[in-house]
């Protein structure tokens, strides 16, 4: 009993997820024809993993619950996932659990070495999840995602090496512990580690692999990859920026502003929904990076933003799940035959992503702008505001067709993932203050 009590909360979550993975892999033969039982085992593993985290600090709770939410939506979509080979559903479920494990380790790691291991676990799981989608497009997307993930991982471990030289340990950076002789090596090391984490956030210039993965992967799996990666990356970057504000803050602000501009123009130029969502995620990642460079208030705003953003984007991808891995042009949304539930879910997600009040996306963007205004002043905030306003132009383009679909009577299978993600978005919209208070607590404010 004492042994169980002495296990740190994140480790307890990881052990339960690994146990669930092993169970699924051991029963692969039996579960390949029983998708409902498979999803049930996966969901129970994820819910079980959330329990130990409740005993941890606020950052652990936010990280684990965010990752578990992403995993739950992905797991609920496993039975209907568009796979190249439908007998691979158990592998997909196991990879979702492994990816969740990696994301939790990355976000809650006690040392940077563990964080690197979590990052790689998440990257490899994500690449294979994308590759298992139906058709050639997911496979090509997976290759590009994998190559860039491997390069960014190599940069991260090179940075870890430099940090070991400068400080003698793999501990998270802290101000004032570096020998002045090694300060420049420490700075380069921290920046390379930040580069490795930033790839998971999909900010400029590390965006081509994630862009393709979000565009071409099976929607449910791509949604999980995006959500789990972003939660873990924001928490990891927040921890890095807290201990190494000097090199990290200006870099984060710079790449944040460039990402907002790049993502906004990219999304405006798209003619199909998924590519537009992929580019818009770069603009949103830019907002998060900008906030991460704005001190403790900004880091709290970034945590608040990522929780809301992740649940909203999960809702959008869950609503599009089951329609294949091909593009969804704006002009063909009405002909997709989405059920009213899915059309309503996608409508709610797009309204929230556009930041229309009183959706939670509005409060998330407001928190970022407030932090940016306080820390950086007029011009950076103006760029963020313009990025936010331009979002209305591209997010709301498919809205008339979606509203028409909500009134149509198209029958479809139940969509538990849409209901779950939709309920989470509505709850956050009703109580944004509570979520923001939790985010502040997580940052220690």
């Amino acid at each position: 009993m004492n042994v169980l009590a002495s296990i740190p909360p994140p480790l307890g979550s990881v052990l339960i997820l690994v146990l669930g993975t092993l169970v699924i892999l051991l029963l692969t033969g039996r579960l390949s024809n029983s998708p409902t039982i498979l999803a049930t085992i996966g969901v129970l593993s994820l819910l079980g993993a959330a329990l130990p985290a409740m005993g941890g600090d606020a950052l652990t709770r936010v990280s684990v619950l965010g990752v578990v939410a992403a995993g739950l939506v992905g797991m609920l979509l496993v039975p209907s996932a568009e796979l190249h080979n439908s007998t691979q559903r158990p592998e997909v479920a196991a990879l979702i659990l492994l990816g969740s494990t990696g994301a939790i380790v990355l976000a809650t790691a006690g040392e940077l070495l563990s964080a690197a291991l979590g990052l790689e676990t998440l990257s490899l799981s994500a690449a294979v999840l994308v590759a298992l989608g139906r058709g050639a497009r997911p496979l090509e997307a997976a290759f590009r995602y994998f190559v860039l993930a491997a390069i960014s991982f190599a940069a991260l471990v090179y940075g870890l090496g430099l940090l070991l030289l400068a400080t003698g340990s793999f501990a998270w950076p802290r101000p004032g512990v570096v020998d002045p002789t090694y300060s420049y090596i420490w700075t380069i090391g921290v920046l390379l580690i930040g580069l490795g984490f930033a790839y998971k956030l999909a900010v400029f210039p590390l965006l081509w692999g994630p862009l393709d993965a979000y565009t071409a992967g099976a929607p449910g799996l791509a949604g999980f990859v995006m959500a789990a990666s972003k939660i873990a990356a924001v928490v990891a970057l927040a921890r890095l920026a807290a201990g190494a504000a000097v090199p990290m803050a200006p870099i984060l602000i710079g790449i944040g502003l460039v990402s907002i501009i790049w993502g906004t123009f990219g999304a405006l130029a798209q003619r199909e929904v998924r590519r537009m969502l992929a580019y818009s995620t770069v603009a949103n990642a830019g907002l998060m990076a900008l906030a991460l460079g704005c001190g403790p208030e900004g880091r709290a705003a970034a945590i608040f933003f990522v929780v809301i953003y992740v649940l909203t984007i999960l809702l959008a991808f869950a609503a599009m799940a089951g329609r294949g891995t091909g593009p969804l042009p704006f002009g063909e949304v009405r002909g997709e035959g989405l059920s009213a539930t899915r059309a309503l879910g996608l409508t709610l997600a797009l309204l929230s992503l556009a930041g229309i009040p009183p959706t939670p996306g509005f409060w998330a963007k407001l928190a970022i702008l407030d932090a940016s205004w306080s820390a950086l002043g007029f011009w950076p905030t103006l760029v963020a505001v313009i990025g936010g306003v331009a979002g209305v132009l591209y997010y709301l383009r498919p809205l008339p067709d979606l509203l028409a679909l909500t009134r149509a009577h198209v029958s479809s299978a139940p969509a538990p993932a849409v209901w779950f993600a939709g309920a989470a978005v509505v709850v956050l919209g009703l109580a944004p203050g509570f979520a923001y208070a939790v985010a502040r607590l997580a940052i220690g404010g």
């Binding site: 070495l113 291991l117 790689e120 490899l124 690449a127 294979v128 590759a131 050639a136 497009r137 496979l139 090509e140 997307a141 997976a142 290759f143 590009r144 994998f146 190559v147 491997a150 390069i151 991982f153 190599a154 471990v157 090179y158 870890l160 090496g161 070991l164 030289l165 003698g168 340990s169 793999f170 393709d212 565009t215 071409a216 590519r275």
Partner: protein, 107 residues
């Protein structure tokens, strides 16, 4: 003329050069297997630096560099397995492993 003894700086320079060659190869090779080999070169460059740190630097964690090198070798093996699996799947679908032929998503 006596040569200067090999020190940490030499290994740092060697590792950095290898890392840069690997990154150049990963970003410029047209053959997908060549890209994977370049990534391995980047990771092995880190290994060179880590083992050198373990030999030349006095730290409270004496074995950190060597343990880290083994850690990277393990991760690199997993990475190579996944990478080759993806490349083989791409070859089965497209009958080519030239990166330029992987172009369905270019727009």
């Amino acid at each position: 003329m006596a040569l200067a003894p090999i020190g940490l700086q030499h290994f740092l320079v060697l590792g950095t050069i290898l890392f840069c060659i690997g990154m150049y190869g990963a970003l410029s090779r047209s053959n997908a297997v060549g890209v994977l080999l370049s990534i391995e070169l980047m990771l092995n460059a880190v290994n060179v630096i880590m083992v050198a740190f373990a030999k030349f630097i006095d730290t409270p964690q004496e074995l950190a560099g060597q343990v880290f090198a083994i850690f990277i070798m393990t991760v690199a093996a997993a990475e190579a397995a996944v990478g080759l699996a993806i490349v083989i799947s791409v070859y089965r679908l497209r009958h080519s492993i030239q990166v330029d032929d992987i172009d369905l998503l270019k727009n």
